[in-house]
């Protein structure tokens, strides 16, 4: 464990995650000819929710308090596995941990929605589960392709080598496409679908628990936005060495965050919400794409 790096990561995650959510809202607003809220708006929302009283739903009980905290902890743990603005990552074998946590946290929200026994929450929860089972494989497979090509599950090593190639290109496209659903925004906000399910799994949450959920979700999204950095590094021969820490890494990291934010904003303002059947068709295609990336990377690894 590299504690200074971990501390940097956690601090960065908590401070920046709502800011990048605000940025997404701002970009979407500009694309829709609106002025939009300030980019600090998500922070204002969270701070306001934190000041409100806690209301427990009749059938949910204390679980309503457990799930938001769990979501936030799981999302922050994701940051314990990756390297962000540093070359060093806080832990060894972070790749495996990251994949596991990404999958686990996707299911936590689905379960949280079903505990309150609100019909909308249950429908939203079941949609979340279906969507997660469709999307998570693509995330796993595209990240596995990356790990396989780099030959290491530690993010330090992944950051250091340069190995551009077609399989990696396919993998990054598949990753960005899966990110659309992972972030839970239009066109893949099926679970929350404001005008259909009134918030779905979130319906029974209010006040501080909702603030924690929102913070947790935005931290999780930020962790997912961080991954394209490693794909980018693979395409740019930087020659990063053991102790090397350059400003390029910081620039690349933020470039990765901006790229993902813009991709999601664009998808959000150019699409209507998918139905579950259409979303599943779409993600079967993405899964095929990421599988091709994986197969190609196995082949390249095998021959080299």
């Amino acid at each position: 464990m590299n504690f200074p790096v971990l501390a940097i990561n956690i601090l960065l995650a908590i401070l920046m995650a709502p800011i990048f959510d605000g940025l997404r809202r701002k970009i979407t607003a500009r694309l829709q000819n609106r002025i939009g809220p300030p980019i600090t708006q998500t922070w204002y929302d969270i701070l306001k929710l934190l000041r409100k009283e806690i209301i427990l739903p009749e059938n949910g009980g204390f679980l309503v308090l457990v799930f938001p905290v769990l979501t936030l902890i799981l999302s922050l743990t994701m940051f314990a596995s990756i390297s962000t603005i540093t070359v060093q990552s806080p832990m060894e074998r972070g790749g495996i941990i990251f994949i596991e946590l990404a999958v686990l946290s996707a299911f936590v929200l689905a379960i949280a929605g079903s505990t309150s026994r609100n019909p909308y929450g249950m429908v939203g929860g079941s949609r979340e589960v279906i969507l997660a089972t469709l999307v998570e494989p693509s995330i796993i497979v595209s990240l596995t392709a990356l790990i396989l090509l780099k030959g290491s599950t530690t993010f330090d090593d992944i950051s250091r080598s340069y190995s551009a190639g077609i399989p990696l290109l396919i993998a990054v496209v598949a990753y960005l496409l899966s990110l659309l659903a992972e972030s839970g925004k239009i066109p893949f906000d099926l679970a929350e679908a404001e005008s259909e399910l009134s918030g779905g799994p979130l319906i029974e949450f209010s006040g501080p628990p909702l603030a924690f959920l929102k913070l947790g979700q935005s931290v999780r999204n930020l962790a997912l936005y961080s991954i394209p950095k490693f794909f980018m590094i693979a395409f740019i021969p930087l020659g990063l060495t053991e102790q090397h820490h350059s400003i390029t890494v910081v620039i690349l990291y933020f470039a990765s965050l901006f790229l993902c934010t813009i991709v999601i904003s664009l998808a959000e303002s150019l699409n209507a919400r998918y139905r579950l059947s259409e979303a599943s068709k779409f993600y079967v295609m993405v899964l095929v794409l990421s599988s091709i990336a994986l197969i190609l990377s196995v082949l390249t690894k095998g021959t080299s």
Partner: protein, 549 residues
Amino acid sequence: MDIITKIRSKFPDNIIKVTELREKTQLMEIKKADFPQILDYAHNSLGGHFMTMTGTDYIESLDHFIIDYILGWYEEGVLVVFRARIRKGDENFPSATPYVPCADWYEREVKESLGLSPIGHPNPRKLLLSDEWPEDIYPLRKNYKHDARPPYKAEARYPFEAPENGKMFNIIPFGPYHFAIHEPIYFRFLTNGERIVNTDLRAGFNYRGLEKIAETRLTYETIPFMAERVCGICGSVHAEAYTQALEKAANFEAPERAKWIRTVMLEIERIHSHLLWLGVASHMVGFDSGLMQFWRVRDKDMFLAELLTGNRKLYGMIVPGGVRRDIRDDKKEKALKLVSEIHEEYEELLKATLNLGTLKKRLKDVGCLRKEDAKKYSVMGPVARASGISIDSRRDYPYEAYPHLDFESPVESEGDVLARTIVRAHDVLQSIKIIEQALESLPDGPVHTPLDYIPPGVTSVGLVEGPRGTDVHYIITGKEDTVYRWRVRAPTYANLQATPLMLEGYTLADASIIIGSIDPCISCAERVLVVDANSGKERILSSKDLLKR
């Protein structure tokens, strides 16, 4: 008269009297026992569109009630009022609902408000009054005071349809105020997974008692003001429909210039309503850019209204005898410029949005209403036109300046939500065309001449094609400068009855856009009654109830 002859030859012994109220409007007096069979023949065999149905209390003066069913034949431009008397002490009539399903709500309303029970009605639950309203107090009877407060009846509960025994269904409440449709109505879905198996509907949360107030407190001149407030979106349509009915009753023709200005106002309102709907519909399927863009253009339409009337909404232009404000020539030029701007921006926007793949996928083959069902339920306006029924009262029952203007009424045959969207989208282009024509050839002359005499006891019907369909106002004129009976039938009242049919078999994901696709305007459909804080309307469904369900 063709239709009258047909009915006469089919039922030679059952017709008491036929009188011509005015050109193409007949009053056919029959016995109440003959209602079901005659209406069955007129609606199902002759293809009459169910317009409205109402009851009137004549107990104090004539010792009886009357019940009027009004059917219209759009192709011929004919209206027939079927009237029967109901004697005191025998306050019931055979229900026509088993044969004419669209009579459902009307008969329930007559039962609640006048105490005339439809015998054999398949669904005699409450419609508009709150559950706590006592069963034996009838607010539209003439002996009921407009400000009376009924005794509070505790612990009443609306009897929703229960799922069949032994079958597993989820009950999903959609409302009473679901924020996708922003309207106070309560749908209760029985679902199997996400698929909707059955829908039950509770309306009446917005019943305000406007008709009673009009009959007791207002004069002929002030009612349009109230009529405009029946609905926030199609206000002018209601004012126009009332004014039309009143002017017909008085055999009065408004000045030419006033007629053309009225037409302009109605079309500005149509553009506003359709753009509003296109935005809301985009939001319902998660296409928020559409919401923002359509509403950006809609704002221009509201500037246009402000320029001509001083108000962005609720124009207050249409009054009996003409219009309130004239359109000056300099304003006319500005208005024409604004209209062409709206036209340009709207066409561009329409091209960009209607070709959008994801949006199209969400709208296509959803909420289908077959032509037969649309006929059976007598749906109105864009909903009917999207199912291949070409009805448009601007063309079929011409009023104001419409006979002099060149326009088409778009018709689609698929009957799904996409068809309804296309009908509305093209309707806007026609409205733009109408406004341009009307403003360019505005005739000279006065804009208002007062109505001098309105004969009492005249039955009159005003039909106006609102953005959502034909708006029907039925009046019986009274003696003391006010109406004896005023019945507002907004198009949503007819369209909403057909929604359970559209919803069946589709998933929860499509529910909001299907309900949205009729452009529901609940406050329109439920104008009327007594505002009573004591009756505790909110108790129909407290937050506690909602949690239990």
